[in-house]
C-alpha cells in the first residue's frame, strides 16, 4: 500500500507525462486540429483500403499478360497504359500498394519492438548487456545503411522476404540507440529513483515508468521509419534485390519501365508518384505526431 502511495506521488512530480490520460487526450485534440495530419491520414487510409480491396478495385488482373495489347498508351481502358507484356499498369499500381505498405509497416513494427527492448535493457541494466549491444550498434553504424542492406540481401539471396529480414536487422539499431539514450537519462530522474527506493521491481519500473515515457518519441520515430523503409525497399526492389518479377511492386515496376522510357514515360512516372504520395502522407502524419507528442518540442 505504502509502495503505491510513494509511486503515485513520484508520478505526479514528473510533469503530466507518465501514463497520464490528459497527455494523450491533449495530443489527440492537437492532431485533429492539424490540417496536414488530417490530409495525410485521409490519403493513407485510401491507400490502405486500395491495398486491402485491390481485388475489387483493380480493373484487370495485374499478372495477366496480353500479347495482343502490349505497350499501349494511356487510354480510357488502361489509365496508365500497358507494359511490354500487355499487363495493365494501373492495376499493377494498385497491387503495388500492398507490398509497399506491408514492407513499411512490418519492418518498422518489428524493428521498433526489438530496438526498444534491447535499448531499454542496455540503458537500464548497463554492464555487459550494454557493452555488447552498443558494440554491435557501433559496428553496424560504421557501414552505410544501404550498402549493408545490399550486402545482407546478397548473403540471404534476393527476395522480398529476405529484403524485409535485412531491413529489420538494420533498423532496430536506430531504435536501440534512441531508447538507450533516453533510458540513461530517465534512470537518474527522481521519480524512478523514488520508485526504486520504494522497492519496485526492475520489471515494474521498466514497464510502468520507463516505457510509458519512451513511448511518445518511439511512436514519432516509428512513423518516420515506416516512410523511410518504404523508400529504401523501393530502391532495393529497383535494383532487383527486393520484390522479384512478376510481383507488382512500385520499385521493380520502375526498373521494368526503364526500357520503355522513350515510348511510354508514364510507366516511369506513375509508380514514383505513388511512392512519393505514400511517403508524403506518412511524413505528414509523422510531423503532426511529433508536434503533438514530443515533449521536448512542447513549450
Amino acid at each position: 500500500m505504502s509502495e503505491n502511495i510513494v509511486e503515485l506521488k513520484a508520478d505526479a512530480a514528473f510533469v503530466e507525462l507518465t501514463e497520464s490520460r490528459s497527455f494523450y487526450y491533449k495530443a489527440f485534440r492537437q492532431l485533429l486540429r492539424n490540417k496536414q495530419a488530417i490530409l495525410g491520414f485521409v490519403v493513407l487510409l485510401s491507400l490502405v483500403l486500395a491495398a486491402i480491396f485491390a481485388d475489387q478495385i483493380a480493373p484487370y488482373n495485374p499478372y495477366k499478360t496480353n500479347y495482343s495489347n502490349v505497350k499501349q498508351p494511356p487510354s480510357a481502358e488502361h489509365f496508365i497504359g500497358t507494359d511490354e507484356l500487355g499487363r495493365d499498369g494501373f492495376s499493377r499500381l494498385i497491387y503495388g500498394a500492398r507490398i509497399s505498405l506491408l514492407v513499411g509497416v512490418s519492418v518498422s513494427a518489428i524493428s521498433t519492438t526489438v530496438g526498444v527492448a534491447l535499448g531499454a535493457i542496455a540503458g537500464y541494466f548497463g554492464g555487459a548487456a550494454d557493452m555488447i549491444i552498443m558494440r554491435v550498434v557501433d559496428l553496424f553504424m560504421a557501414f552505410p545503411f544501404l550498402v549493408l542492406a545490399i550486402a545482407l540481401v546478397a548473403v540471404f539471396g534476393p527476395s522480398l522476404f529476405n529484403m524485409m529480414l535485412a531491413l529489420i536487422l538494420l533498423y532496430w539499431i536506430w531504435f536501440a540507440r534512441l531508447v538507450r539514450g533516453m533510458v540513461l537519462t530517465l534512470r537518474e530522474t527522481e521519480f524512478i529513483v523514488g520508485a526504486k527506493a520504494a522497492g519496485a521491481s526492475d520489471i515494474s519500473i521498466i514497464f510502468r515508468h520507463i516505457l510509458p515515457n519512451v513511448f511518445p518519441v518511439v511512436v514519432v520515430q516509428g512513423s518516420f521509419s515506416v516512410a523511410d523503409a518504404i523508400l529504401i525497399a523501393a530502391g532495393l526492389s529497383y535494383l532487383g534485390l527486393g520484390a522479384q518479377p512478376p510481383t507488382a511492386e512500385w520499385g521493380s515496376m520502375l526498373s521494368n519501365a526503364k526500357e520503355l522510357m522513350r515510348i511510354l514515360p508514364v510507366l516511369s512516372i506513375a509508380p514514383g508518384l505513388a511512392i512519393m504520395i505514400t511517403v508524403l502522407a506518412i511524413n505528414f502524419i509523422g510531423d503532426a505526431l511529433r508536434d503533438a507528442l514530443d515533449p521536448t518540442l512542447r513549450q
Binding site: 550498402v147 542492406a149 550486402a151 520502375l254 510531423d287
Partner: protein, 313 residues
C-alpha cells in the same frame, strides 16, 4: 591537440578490426562453395580437382588461420581475384573509387549550395510564406525517392530537352562534367531536405541566444548581427550533420550509380551480386565502411580545431 588526434586514431582501431571481422564473416556466410562459384563459368570439375584448389587457397584451414591470412593479405592490399574479370579485386575497386568520390563530393557541394541559403533564409523569415515554402520544399526533399527523381531528370533533361547525357560517363573533361550533372543533382536530393531543416532549426536556436539579443540591443545593424554573429555559430551543428550523413550519401550513391550507369564502386557492388562475384561485393562493403570511418575521424579532428571545447571532453 596532437594528443587528441592520437587518442582518436587509437580509438578507431577496434572499429576497423570489427569491420574487417564483419566482412570476413560475410564472406563465410554466403551460401555455396567458393571454389565451385569461382569455377562455375568454366567446365565441370571432379571432386579431386576441387579439393586440390581448396587446399591451395587454404580453404581447408581452420577459420582463425584463414582470418589471420585474410587480414595480412588486406594489409598488403591483396583482396583476392574477381571471378568476373579475373583481375585483382583491389585493382577493380581502386579503379572505380575516384568516380564514387567525385560523385559524392560534388553532391555534398550541391547540398551546401542549395540547402544552407534556403534553411537560413527560412529561419530569418520565420512564419512568413518564404518559411512555409522552404519547409514544403524540405518535406518533398525527404519524401521523393531519389532514384525516381533521377529517372525524372533523365526524362526531362535527357530525353525530352536533350540537354544532358543520361547514361554513362563522358571521356573529355567537358563531357565528363556534363555527364556528372544529373547523377550528382539526384544524389544531393538524399540530403537536401534534411540539411535544409537542420540549417533552419540551428539558425533559429542561435538567433534566440542572449548574445544575439545583446548585439541587437546595442543597435547593431540587423544584417551584421545575422551574418557576422549568428551564422558562424549556427554553421557548426549544420556541418556536423552533413559529415555525419556522409554514410547515407555513400549508400545512396550505390542506387544512383546504378540508375545512371556511373562507373563507381556502388554499381560495381550491385553488378557483382548478380554475377555472384562475392569477393568483390564483400570487399566493396569493406571499402565503404573504411571511407565512413575515415570521414568521421577527419570530421572529429576538424571540429577539435574549430571548437576547442571538444578536445577537453
Amino acid at each position: 591537440m596532437k594528443k587528441y588526434i592520437i587518442r582518436r586514431v587509437i580509438l578507431m582501431i577496434p572499429l576497423v578490426f570489427g569491420v574487417t571481422t564483419a566482412t570476413f564473416a560475410l564472406i563465410h556466410l554466403i551460401p555455396g562453395d567458393p571454389v565451385e562459384l569461382m569455377m562455375s563459368n568454366t567446365r565441370q570439375m571432379t571432386q579431386e580437382e576441387i579439393d586440390r584448389i581448396r587446399d591451395k587457397l587454404g580453404l581447408n584451414d581452420p577459420l582463425p588461420v584463414q582470418y589471420v591470412r585474410y587480414v595480412t593479405n588486406l594489409l598488403k592490399g591483396d583482396m583476392g581475384i574477381s571471378v568476373r574479370s579475373r583481375s585483382d579485386v583491389s585493382y577493380e575497386i581502386l579503379q572505380r573509387l575516384p568516380d564514387t568520390i567525385i560523385l559524392t563530393v560534388t553532391s555534398i557541394a550541391l547540398v551546401l549550395i542549395f540547402a544552407l541559403p534556403i534553411g537560413i533564409l527560412s529561419a530569418l523569415k520565420r512564419g512568413t510564406w518564404i518559411d512555409t515554402l522552404a519547409m514544403t520544399f524540405a518535406l518533398f526533399g525527404v519524401s521523393i525517392p531519389a532514384f525516381w527523381f533521377g529517372i525524372m531528370l533523365m526524362l526531362i533533361f535527357g530525353l525530352h530537352l536533350d540537354w544532358l547525357p543520361t547514361v554513362g560517363q563522358g571521356k573529355t573533361p567537358i563531357e565528363f562534367a556534363r555527364s556528372l550533372v544529373l547523377p550528382s543533382v539526384t544524389l544531393s536530393l538524399i540530403l537536401l531536405g534534411l540539411v535544409t531543416r537542420v540549417a533552419r532549426s540551428s539558425m533559429l536556436e542561435v538567433l534566440s541566444l542572449d548574445y544575439v539579443r545583446t548585439a541587437r540591443a546595442k543597435g547593431m545593424a540587423s544584417r551584421y548581427v545575422n551574418f557576422r554573429h549568428a551564422l558562424p555559430n549556427a554553421l557548426i551543428p549544420i556541418l556536423t550533420v552533413v559529415s555525419g550523413q556522409f554514410a547515407s550519401l555513400l549508400g545512396g550513391a550505390v542506387l544512383i550509380e546504378k540508375v545512371f550507369g556511373w562507373p563507381g564502386i556502388g554499381r560495381l557492388a550491385v553488378d557483382s551480386i548478380f554475377a555472384r562475384d562475392y569477393l568483390v561485393v564483400t570487399n566493396t562493403v569493406l571499402v565503404f565502411a573504411i571511407m565512413v570511418i575515415l570521414v568521421n575521424l577527419a570530421n572529429d579532428i576538424l571540429y577539435s580545431y574549430i571548437d576547442p571545447r571538444i578536445r577537453f571532453q
